[in-house]
Amino acid sequence: MVTLTNPKSETLNSKQNIKIKTNNLKIWYGSHQVMHGVSIDVYENEILAAIGPANSGKTSFLKCINRLNDLIPRSKVEGEILLDDKNIYKLSVSSLRKRVGMVFALPLPLPLTIFDNVAYGPRMHGIKEKKKLSEIVESSLRSSSLWDEVKDRLNSQAMKLSGGQQQRLCIARTLAVEPEVILYDEPCSGLDPISTLKVEETMRELKSRYTQILVTNNVKQAARVSERTAFFLMGELIELEETAQLFTAPKDKRTDDYISGRFG
């Protein structure tokens, strides 16, 4: 794994390191197949957007990467998912999810204080010292650009924050366990435009340190934030290109139809 310090070499370097690789990934829920053999390489420290209409399999794809689909009864996965060249089913679920964090569609603070929400993950992984926890909480909240708004009320209930603040709290919570990859499942679908911009800004700021995959229903958001975009349809990967390329000159007609709003 190469640590990137020089921003100029970023694009070049990141293309050489594959962080996540799926080989012929197939997913079933019961007898219903929702993903038909998808192979994707996700580069280190890139923001990859996955777009597509409802039921296109983009969220299922995301949930497979940190095995949250295990929680769905009767779900079945075939094919390989590699994280740093290692099959994720060979890792323990807990350590996989520590390395691959997830931010959900609706902001889901736990019914705890702001501090405890962020400290939850580190505590689960065995960090007990108050001082260490405070440091983690502060740096995580700073990274998710929430620190200045909440630093005076860390002990109030997280539920009292606004929707956008709650979502950035969830990002902070995910950062607190020091993941390598962050998955976003339509992170702005419940947010107002200003909060959405703030979340997107946070994502861009996190770019230098994390590999991020963004599933979004908002085509414009994919265009604003991501470097590469994958278009899913009916459980298949139709097209994966540099974002600028995909949005200006899509190769597949279905991609063109979707991004120009003719269906979906």
């Binding site: 940190n66 949250l68 929680l71 009864p73 679920v93 807990s94 350590s95 996989l96 999810r97 520590k98 964090g101 997830m102 959900f104 609706l106 889901l108 736990l110 019914p111 705890l112 939850y120 993950g121 505590r123 689960m124 992984h125 209930q157 539920m159 969830c170 919570r173 995910t174 607190a176 366990v177």
Partner: protein, 290 residues
């Protein structure tokens, strides 16, 4: 015509609502009227804190402290047994076993509630009390402990069922969020699910206490009925309810003993009222916070 019908229904509902409140008030007034006479015989503090319950000696002594403590110790024991068991089996039902099996098991546990308390009393006398007698080498197995165990079983179905509902109503998203940060199942249950379900768990405990403290038949049969101040779980005790049930048949209406039994009824009423009030306050506070 339509308006008339509306008016009729509205008022019928109003009357039904008012009637149930009026009944509660009437019952309390009746208890007060029948029982308050005892306080001309024995002072209020002498009644509640009196250590001797000798209603038919001469002169009779009406101190109900042993009875209050008897009820208290049996209830405490039952709750100590039933709450951990109840939480554990509710967690097992909702988080560990697959959904379908969990539903079947829950239905079976709820069937426990259908067992008449007198049957539990039989089991207590015939099976449980000899076991307790042998284990602890006691002169009799009819003790507070026997009552606690039987009452714990009686309260368990209610407690399990309410806690299970509370756990099930914790949003699935909390679980996902916790798992997504790499927490294990046990960590998720302990740190997220149980705290989020805490108001339901508290309600379950309160209802359990209500059930246990008001229970009469089983405790009358298996606690030994000695009106002495209990110092351990291995002694026979007598509860307030058992006292009323056992002695009501032999009193003369209107005499001091009769009034004393009603006095016990008032005390019992106030205790259950307070338990309900406290649990209500707690539930509302919790809800306001969330």
């Amino acid at each position: 015509m339509k308006e008339y019908f509306e008016w009729l229904i509205e008022n019928l509902i109003l009357i039904c609502g008012v009637i149930s409140i009026v009944f509660v008030i009437l019952i309390f007034i009746f208890l007060l009227k029948e029982g308050s006479g005892i306080f001309s015989h024995t002072s209020l503090t002498g009644f509640i804190f009196g250590k001797d319950w000798y209603p038919i000696s001469d002169p009779p002594k009406f101190g109900i402290l042993p009875l209050i403590l008897g009820s208290f110790i049996v209830t405490l024991g039952a709750i100590i047994i039933a709450v951990p068991l109840g939480i554990a089996s509710a967690v097992f039902l909702s988080e560990v076993v697959p959904r379908g099996i969990g539903d079947i098991l829950k239905a079976i546990i709820e069937l426990l509630a259908a067992i008449p308390s007198i049957v539990l009393g039989f089991i207590g006398i015939v099976i449980l009390s000899p076991i307790i007698k042998n284990i602890f080498n006691l002169p009799t197995g009819l003790t507070a402990l026997a009552g606690s165990v039987m009452l714990a079983f009686m309260a368990l179905p209610t407690i399990v069922s309410i806690i299970e509902d509370a756990i099930n109503s914790v949003p699935k998203s909390y679980r996902e969020a916790s798992y997504a940060m790499g927490a294990t199942k046990w960590q998720t249950i302990r740190r997220v699910i149980l705290p989020a379900a805490s108001s339901g768990i508290l309600a379950a405990i309160m209802l359990g206490i209500g059930r246990v403290i008001g229970e009469t038949m089983a405790v009358l049969m298996i606690t030994g009925n000695a009106a002495i101040i209990p110092t351990s779980f291995l002694q026979p005790v007598r509860t307030m309810t058992a006292t009323i049930a056992a002695e009501m048949g032999e009193v003369i209406r209107g005499d001091a003993h009769y009034q004393a039994l009603f006095g016990i009824g008032i005390v019992l009423f106030i205790i259950t009222f307070l338990i309900n009030l406290v649990s209500d306050l707690f539930l509302h506070k919790k809800r306001g916070k969330a």
